[in-house]
């Protein structure tokens, strides 16, 4: 307990508290802006983190981290354009809810779920970091491959209602992500000798095009179609306590999924949000409404992606393996002050570890406050004339697409993706599977080919690993279950029919 107090003492300075609030606000801001993510936030604060004290530096970085993961959901809900890839799943239910005028409530669900997810993962980090880190080392490339294949189920879950088109959309996303440099051996693929294309078709410009640009085209196309006037409610509305009834199991499950995936370096918040969303769609009592503006969809996506923030620090601190640029810079900041990551960190520098816990808690609380206050402004955006709003969105989204890599190809990709997205939406192809495909494809291919190199080309060696085998079995069971159920029902009706005949 003394150590905890020591940790608390380290962060209870005005500098650190200010750093948490400013960092979180900046994180929310870059998260909200489509295309931009935490990396831009780091670029801004990097010159300061090199000179400011250790705890304020860590505070500002963790603030950006938590804020940006949450911020993406705001744009996803309000204008159907996920501000960050992590929030792509949030748009699936958040936007339909906002479109029927309940943006205030959608933001309420998203913000509350984010807060709970974030706090849950801090708890995980506090209680089980060394154990979780040790467990994550059971995940070699082979297990990552199995996890990636398991995650592909999301494509099928999200495509319900237009299954074949959804699967095709997912396959296209997976293929498009392979264009450019072969991630394993560095050869060029499908670039047709274009140097510009060797940079590959990256995720963020594609999301900007598929969502923001196509939304603009769709709305222009519909401007001759009379629409029902929606009364957009402004502000921030906490979901009533009664509404949580029956959703707590889902919330807990989503938090667990997010915390677990987060502890595996390199998988990320987008994957965890999709896995959690697809699990909600498979098992939630409200699953029939998911995809049409059901709170369950928002809860699943937002609690899972924010639950990644705390647990992503597990491999960062306990193993010295940062999963993304934010944690990498944070690790660098700690190391400069003479703190060596590794299992012994939790023994020798427990005060620092506790200080980080408290910073995370403060950042999550700040995130909630900023979200609740900011909602007043965000929801008002919906009352801006549509033409000006869409213009603003398109300009900022293209700017964001350019800003990620400073690469002119990305603007072309965003434009092309905008047209593809428009055509897909007009012809009934869902867009989300394409994004999921693009997220998962590099992970699956990398893991598959690394595994094959490690096993010297043998597929059978995959099945000798218990975790991999278990993941494959679960994947097969989930995929085959509807078929089995259908066969059982068919057999039953057949029997009933025969019974009647006899």
């Amino acid at each position: 307990m003394d150590v905890a107090l020591l940790g608390l003492e380290q962060i209870l300075t005005w500098q650190t508290m200010l750093a948490v609030v400013l960092g979180t606000a900046l994180g929310v801001a870059v998260g909200v802006l489509p295309g931009l993510g935490s990396v831009v936030g780091i670029t801004m604060v990097l010159p300061f983190t090199l000179t400011m004290g250790q705890m304020p530096a860590v505070a500002v970085l963790l603030g950006i981290y938590c804020g940006s993961v949450y911020g993406g959901s705001i744009t996803a809900i309000i204008i159907n354009t996920p501000g960050t890839p992590q929030a792509a799943a949030t748009a699936l239910d958040g936007y339909p809810m906002a479109a029927r005028g309940e943006a205030d409530l959608a933001l309420g669900w998203a913000t509350t779920a984010s807060l709970i997810g974030g706090l849950f993962s801090v708890l995980v980090l506090m209680l089980a970091a060394p154990q979780l880190a040790a467990f994550s080392l059971n995940f070699t490339s082979v297990e990552y491959f199995a996890l990636g294949v398991f995650a592909l189920i999301c494509i099928a879950q999200v495509s319900q209602g237009s299954m074949l088109r959804g699967l095709l959309s997912g396959a296209m996303g997976m293929f498009v992500a392979t264009v450019g440099v072969d991630p394993v051996i560095g050869d060029m693929r499908f670039t047709f000798d274009s140097f510009a294309l060797s940079a590959g078709i990256s995720l963020i410009p594609a999301i900007v095009g598929l969502f923001a640009l196509s939304e603009m085209f769709v709305r222009i196309a519909e401007r001759y179609t009379p629409t029902v006037k929606v009364d957009f409610k402004v502000g921030f509305k906490m979901p009533p306590r009664s509404a949580w009834r029956g959703r707590l199991v889902l919330l807990l499950k989503s938090c667990l999924i997010g915390s677990f995936i987060g502890a595996l370096p390199g998988t990320g918040a987008a994957t965890s949000a999709f896995i959690s969303y697809s699990e909600a769609k498979r098992s939630s009592p409200n699953r029939a409404r998911i995809g049409k503006g059901e709170p369950d969809g928002i809860i699943a996506a937002e609690s899972a992606n924010n639950a990644v923030t705390g647990s992503a620090l597990v491999p960062t601190l306990a193993l010295g393996i940062p999963g993304d640029p934010v944690t990498a810079v944070m690790l660098g900041t700690l190391i400069v002050q003479g703190i060596t990551p590794g299992p012994r960190l939790f023994i020798e520098h427990l005060d620092v570890v506790y200080a980080i816990f408290f910073i995370l808690i403060a950042a999550n609380v700040a995130m909630f406050a900023i979200g609740a206050v900011g909602a007043q402004a965000f929801t008002r955006v919906l009352r801006v004339p549509e033409s000006l709003l869409m213009t603003a969105v398109v300009v900022i989204a293209l700017l964001g697409a350019y800003g990620v890599r400073g690469n002119s190809l990305d603007l072309v990709i965003a434009f092309a993706a905008g047209i593809v997205g428009f055509v897909m939406r007009r012809t009934g192809f869902p867009i989300a599977p394409m994004v999921i495909g693009m997220v998962l494809s590099p992970m699956i291919e990398n893991a598959l080919r690394q595994s094959l190199m490690l096993t010297r080309g043998s597929f059978w060696a995959f099945f000798e690993r218990p975790i991999t085998l278990a993941l494959f079995v679960v994947t097969a069971a989930i995929l085959l279950w509807p078929l089995v159920r259908w066969l059982l029902r068919a057999a039953k009706t057949h029997n009933d029919a025969q019974d009647r005949r006899t």
């Binding site: 990097l46 070699t140 490339s141 140097f195 940079a199 370096p265 990498a328 190391i335 990551p341 190199m453």
Partner: protein
Amino acid sequence: MNFRIFVAAAVSGLAVLGLVQPANAFPDRPVTMVVPFSAGGGTDITARTLAGPMAEALGSELLVKNTAGAGGTIGTAEVAAARTVGYTIGMMPVGPMTTQPHLRKLPYSPESFDYICLAYSAPSSIVVRKDSPFNSLADMVDYAKANPGKLNFGVQAIGSIPHVAGLGLVDATGIDIAFIPFKGSAPTFKAMLDGSVDMFVAHISFLTQNADQVKSIAMLSDEPVSTAPDLPTAKQQGVPLNFPIWGGLVAPKGIPAEARDTLESACEKGMNSKAFGDRMADLRMPVTFMKGSDFETFVQAEFARNAKLLAKAGLSN
């Protein structure tokens, strides 16, 4: 309205916008430093640390622009193709400069640049897990000779300097090991911790930062490293391997000599600043400055050496 005041106001307004350019000496406007990787990485942090004091020496703003993609080649090509006025320079690391051009067709080569200075050069090291039975290069080589094809060598990317260093090791010792590529140093490190790979080549600051979990079996430098003098080099163990991880400032070929000289002296002043020195000390990296002309010779030597090793491994295009 008084006409003269109007003209004065208009001219000063335009001057602020930069339309009326006074013919000052270089630099009279912001210089852009292209970093071919994303913000937050090692190259980026070094570039930003240098940019502050260097801008002070230049007396003009120095903006860092990240142009990422395709292993750093997109940003490098951007610098090679920039206007030759000296306002676009690049912080170019060893990979895009000396290994990538051998792997595939690129719109640039070391001949496309004017050289300003070497900005950093850190020794690399072959690292293994702390609990590994290998304590020296000989331990590992003996094991590899007794068990050909058994050991896995992790690489951060095919054709990267750590990979080329591994190829150099194979070339010098004749051992048979498998190279397993990962995506960057964090996944490679993880693969070593989970037992997938037995060793990889890392930057010296990685070694000191993860001292709890890894150890070096050979520093890949000719001279003992000043910041880690007690670690034996590969040369001391009878295998001369020298693979520093470096980066330096370049400009598109053909910038005015005056601009190049100004940039070179600003680079030197920047590197001698306290801010830069402190940061390098934090990373356990020696401050290694090299003049533009020396840097050019150095790059050419590295380019030729890496060409040979990559060709031998069948990787060149």
